[in-house]
Symmetry: C2
Subunit: 248 residues, 2 copies
């Protein structure tokens, strides 16, 4: 039991005033940011963080993210994020999260899938042989009771919105940052929708990078009314990200 | 001396990976968010915070913000924000800030001007009589060696950009949030400008509120090449905010 507890990183937050939406609930973009930060803290504490990896010219690349939340923290409410490694494969690792409210009750879970690449040739690194294979020592069997990220397929050829990538979209790697895509995708929906419904599940598949000045086009398809699939392409061609938003 | 120290609130941060721009430096929007949070923490600790005020149906309204930074914190660097009250007038109070790097050296300062209004009739509250005048006990004479916010005047009638206010722009009061204006204003400038120059000083004057669906038009005027004045109007009419950006 003790070893399980040691494998879980626990980090505390408060829902800040500029991090909540019109309804006073934490935004999904901010929650995503916190999740990715927790992944970073947890990995760094175990010798697999960006700072350490960058010295070796390796870097983590986020491939998939799925978040399910029953009740978002409200403005000024403290909350906690737990994170742990579920699996390590040759080319990917699964990292899961639990989001706990101030009473310690799980109000949501998240799943993420990561690859590691060389910063020199962008080729994937074999995770099972890295550091003599010791990344596998961190695997933890804590349950994460939400579905794995699924396949997202959008066939419409008519974009619903365009956005040219600007200064504030770009991260330190020169790419549109993972969190900004979440904001832009949620901005496809009218405010009224968020008044009547909540986002129960949100999935992102990061397929390719986009850059400053790229024109992002957003293609949207309703599966049933509550399930919305979105594909973002750059400059009318290559798919950059796919997303699924499930409202309840 | 001891009483001066007690009047200053000190809060610690780290420049998170998704809070830095393409050059690895903390964004001005995130710094602005931290400043406003620190104002909130400091006021709350002294019985003048939003949570306490809202019970009395009063609220703080940010009127002016001026930030000067010599060297922004870089990704993963810890930094500290100090805040204190410089003046209390009948209708406004001046709150200042110092931004310290990890060695404790001041790397920037900020000034803000706030009013308090009744949430029922939106009328201003007399700060000098509030709580028996005890807000004045927090006045502190720590120096803030940057200019006060000045007058900003834009006369061009030709907007350089339009933005329709979306879900992620809107805060819990139903207004476009103070930080989002900062992001949208900086997004008027090409990335190349931020590669060659830094923002040395940034000023915001919050004049009126804008709402979901409002079309914001951005009018921009170059004073000399390095000093840029911006005015944002809603729906082609009323001025919402004015801003001055000084590059070096």
């Amino acid at each position: 039991m003790d070893t399980t507890v040691n494998k879980i990183g626990t980090y505390s937050f408060v829902a800040e005033p500029f991090h909540v939406d019109f309804s006073g609930k934490l935004t999904l973009g901010v929650l995503g940011n916190h999740l990715l930060n927790c992944a970073g803290f947890h990995a760094e504490e175990r010798g697999f963080g960006m700072a350490t990896l960058n010295e070796q010219h390796y870097t983590w690349v986020l491939s998939r993210l799925a978040i399910e939340v029953e009740e978002m923290p409200h403005q000024y409410e403290p909350f906690t994020i737990q994170t742990w490694v579920e699996n390590v494969y040759r080319l990917f690792t699964d990292r899961n999260f639990a989001i706990l409210n101030k009473e310690g009750k799980a109000i949501g879970y998240a799943r993420s899938v990561w690859a590691m690449i060389s910063m020199e040739d962008r080729k994937p690194i074999d995770l099972l042989t890295l550091h003599g294979g010791n990344i596998a020592e961190y695997i933890c069997d804590k349950p994460c009771p939400i579905d794995k990220p699924g396949r997202i397929k959008v066939s419409t050829q008519e974009p619903v919105a365009l956005h040219q990538a600007k200064y504030s979209d770009i991260d330190v790697n020169g790419h549109v940052n993972s969190i900004k895509y979440i904001e832009h995708i949620l901005d496809l929906f009218p405010l009224e929708r968020f008044r009547q419904q909540s986002v129960r599940r949100f999935e992102m598949a990061y397929v390719a990078e986009s850059y400053y000045g790229d024109t992002l086009s957003f293609y949207q398809e309703s599966k049933d009314g509550n399930e919305q699939d979105i594909e973002v392409r750059k400059n009318g061609a290559e798919v950059v990200v796919r997303s699924k938003v499930i409202f309840v």
